[in-house]
């Protein structure tokens, strides 16, 4: 047997391959990103990054209309962006199978909210599978493709951070020998959702969910695991694993398909116990449906809605078992994430802080500009929000305050959903300043390509969107590209454009320091000449991880191993203390 260790995300990629899919499309987002990154191993599948989740889903839908199996993946908030096509896709149904992965993030390890996307299954009336480990992730991916075609519906596969990023043992299978050849096939009654057609399809949607519910009662992915017969637990996904740790003797109904619920199976199971728990993270999604069936269960009365579960947390909520006392460790200095040494965003935020700008922020590595000592971000809502937020707040401010408003947005985020906001800014005469932090990559999620990076997912050269021309094309008259390693120029440009009572865009053009192809030039590390350093601490305002204050000498020091020689610190020093180490 071919046993390997795979993460949930690797297993989903493998399952997609084994299901005979021909297309995979996504926009990156933690914890979903590695699914598409792993698809590049499977050359039989055409895999690509889309500029945003809506486009990713629309591409997947197109492929499925052509008769191919298609996988689309995204993080939980990505489904908000893709919701528009999704809610009508459930009406059209599919031709080739379509599986949409939503990777949720209980505990907000890397997200701006903790939404429970199981609610999307109910809202969009679409079946949803939830794996409990990597083997499930592989099996359910294949299963989801089959169910998609059997019931003529798109199918959700829901993962969470602990499934996507945990590795467990998986047995691999093979890709089918025969894969149907895609073709053009017209079917307007099914594919053209004008009111007359869609009205009829709505009946099909409702009927289909009822059929799936009944079918799910007899399928092995919804299974009962016998314990000692005293306590019953209904659970799914990663919570199942915690139940097995904490309640080893309980009878467990493990649900593989969590929407629609197998009602008869649940009724039969529930009838056997006086004590019945529903153990699930986040919303009372299963619990409310079981309660609505008139069955008494213990769920959110004990288990919190906020945050993720762990074995210890579950034991505490169920039995009052104390968690270890961590109060002593809370006194240790915290270690929050920071921009890398040489990050091109750093100097820009130092200058935004100096200019006392009101910074309408966005999501990316640059959101770390919020952290002290840079402390230059005042809002952060969702991807692309910075520009619209800046427009809106400018509308209600005095002329003097309007000048302080600056939107900052990364290249990937700008192309994701920022460009629409910029169109609005020009169209409706806003006066705010926009900074596009173009580091030529989608850095936050681990450096994925995007339409402005010049490469595709499989590392082939691609046309690189010309951001300057794009801004001009929507009507921005003042577009200036600057090197953010040049602090004097950054400061001057920022001052001039903030003062301008018109829309202006500043594009910073230094690539991310972690992308080798964009950092071929050798830059020597710097050191601090302690004879020149006066200990004024001006350089510490950068918060660069390579610069540290030395208590003994009361001067700054540079860690030459991590310094990449960007020389931004040199420009903050009034005493010429930062010098190059000779090669």
């Amino acid at each position: 047997m071919n046993k390997v260790l795979l993460s949930g995300n690797e297993a989903i990629a493998r399952g997609t391959y084994e299901a005979g899919a021909l297309v995979a499309c996504a926009y990156p987002g933690t914890p979903s990103t590695e699914i598409l990154e792993n698809m590049t191993r499977y050359k039989e599948v055409n895999s690509s990054w889309a500029p945003n989740e809506k486009v990713a889903l629309e591409v997947g839908i197109g492929a499925c209309f052509g008769g191919a199996r298609a996988l689309v993946s995204m993080k939980h908030v990505g489904v908000n962006v893709a919701a528009d096509p999704l809610f009508t896709l459930t009406y059209t149904g599919v031709r080739g199978g379509l599986v949409l992965v939503t990777a949720d993030d209980p505990e907000l390890h890397s997200s701006q909210n903790e939404q429970d996307n199981r609610n999307f299954a109910k809202f969009a009336k679409m079946p949803m599978f939830e794996p409990a480990d990597s083997q499930d992730a592989l099996d359910y991916t294949k299963l989801a493709f089959e169910v998609s075609e059997q019931f003529d519906t798109p199918v959700f596969l829901r993962s969470t951070t602990r499934i996507s990023h945990s590795k467990s043992v998986v047995t691999l299978g093979a890709r089918p020998d025969h894969i149907p050849t895609p073709s053009l096939e017209r079917n307007p009654a099914k594919l053209v959702m004008l009111p007359g057609n869609a009205r009829k399809r709505h009946y099909d949607v409702e009927e289909r969910i009822l059929k799936l519910e009944e079918w799910g009662c007899s399928q092995s992915f919804n299974r009962v695991e016998k314990g000692k017969g005293e306590v019953g637990v209904i659970t799914a996904g990663v919570s199942y694993q915690y139940v097995k740790e904490v309640l080893p003797d309980a009878d467990v109904l493990k649900l593989g398909m969590i929407y629609p619920l197998p009602k008869q199976l649940i009724r039969d199971f529930a009838a056997k116990y006086t004590t019945l728990y529903v153990v699930e993270e986040l919303d009372p999604f299963i619990e409310e449906q079981v309660l609505a069936m008139g069955i008494a269960v213990i769920g959110k009365a004990k288990i919190p809605i906020c945050g993720e579960l762990t074995p210890g947390r579950l034991a505490k909520e169920l039995f009052g078992t104390e968690l270890p006392d961590e109060s002593a460790t809370l006194k240790l200095p915290q270690r929050p994430p920071n921009m890398c040494p040489g990050c091109p965003h750093r100097g820009v935020f130092m200058e935004l802080n100096r200019a006392k700008a009101f910074v309408a922020g966005d999501i990316g590595c640059y959101t770390l500009g919020f952290m002290p000592p840079l402390s230059a971000m005042d809002t952060c809502v969702c991807m692309g929000a910075s520009i619209g937020n800046a427009t809106g707040i400018s509308k209600v401010l005095s002329e003097e305050d309007q000048r302080k408003v600056v939107a900052v947005i990364g290249d990937s985020t700008f192309l994701h959903t920022g460009i629409n906001g910029l169109m609005d800014m020009v169209y409706n005469n806003s006066t705010a300043t926009v900074i596009i932090l173009d580091n030529r990559i989608t850095a936050m999620t681990g450096r994925q390509e995007n339409p402005a990076s010049g490469y595709t997912l499989d590392n082939n050269p691609a046309f690189r969107v010309d951001l300057e021309q794009l801004c001009r094309a929507v009507g921005v008259k003042h577009v200036r590209s600057i090197d953010p390693y040049n602090i004097a120029l950054t400061r001057k440009t920022l001052r001039e454009e903030m003062a301008r009572p018109e829309v202006s865009v500043i594009i910073t053009t230094r690539p991310c320091v972690l992308v080798p192809r964009d950092n071929l030039e050798r830059r020597p590390s710097l050191y601090v000449d302690h004879d020149a350093c006066t200990g004024c601490k001006a350089c510490l305002r950068l918060g660069c991880p390579a610069i540290a204050w030395d208590e003994t000498s009361q001067k700054s020091n540079i860690d030459k191993i991590i310094c990449v020689g960007c020389k931004v610190c040199q420009q903050t020093c009034g005493f010429n203390a930062f010098k190059e180490i000779e090669a």
């Binding site: 933690t30 480990d133 915690y242 460790t329 200095p333 270690r335 929050p336």
Partner: protein, 192 residues
């Protein structure tokens, strides 16, 4: 067979993920059930990083139940202390004698806590301190610290020496295999 729980701690960029990959691969080779878990994303930007590895006959949760950690395997001193409450009584610690200043310390706002090794060893007598960097530099490459540390860890785990070597060869980039094997041997050579 009881499940063994190892918590690997350190700072983003130190090679913790590779170390946990190698360890998990060894468990798989030994024919055991194994799960590992870590958080990617924000934490990789120089923040605290932690990886859980669990192995045995059958492993359910990939998160180690709180208070049931058998071994803390740590790449940085202060990070070790962050997770001590999760370690079981008489648990073991393998710690790299290395300090990385967190931002508040680098900015001169807080001091790096003192006497950490003594604090750790007092609570947990089964503590092994490894001078990872010095041993790594003897191989000529500072980046082999994680292999040195794995060598030290291998002393207290019940896996064949050969399996470690096979796993390292499989997981490490080809041109770095030799120095990593050398680093592993150096770590294995120290006395637990």
């Amino acid at each position: 067979m009881k499940t063994t729980n190892i918590l690997i701690a350190g700072v983003g960029g130190q090679g913790i993920l590779l170390a946990s990959e190698v360890l998990s691969e060894v468990c798989l080779m030994a024919g055991l059930d194994v799960k590992k878990n870590e958080i990617h994303g924000m934490s990789q930007r120089g923040g605290s990083v932690v990886s859980h590895v669990r192995y045995g006959e059958k492993v359910y949760s990939s998160i180690i139940p709180e208070g049931e950690v058998d071994i803390i395997f740590s790449f940085e001193l202060m990070e070790t202390c962050r997770y001590l409450p999760l370690l079981r009584k008489n648990g073991r610690v393998v710690v790299n004698d290395w300090k990385i200043a967190p931002p508040s310390v680098a900015l001169g706002k807080q001091s790096y806590p003192e006497n950490l090794i003594a604090t750790i060893a007092q609570q947990f007598p089964l503590t092994t301190v490894v001078d990872g960097l010095t041993l790594a530099l003897e191989t000529g490459n500072a980046k082999t610290v994680n292999s040195v540390l794995l060598g030290a860890l291998s002393n207290i785990l019940d896996f064949d020496h050969e399996m470690w070597l096979t796993a390292l060869k499989k997981m490490v980039p080809e041109k770095l295999v030799d120095i990593n094997l050398q680093a592993f041997a150096a770590g294995r050579g120290i006395n637990g």
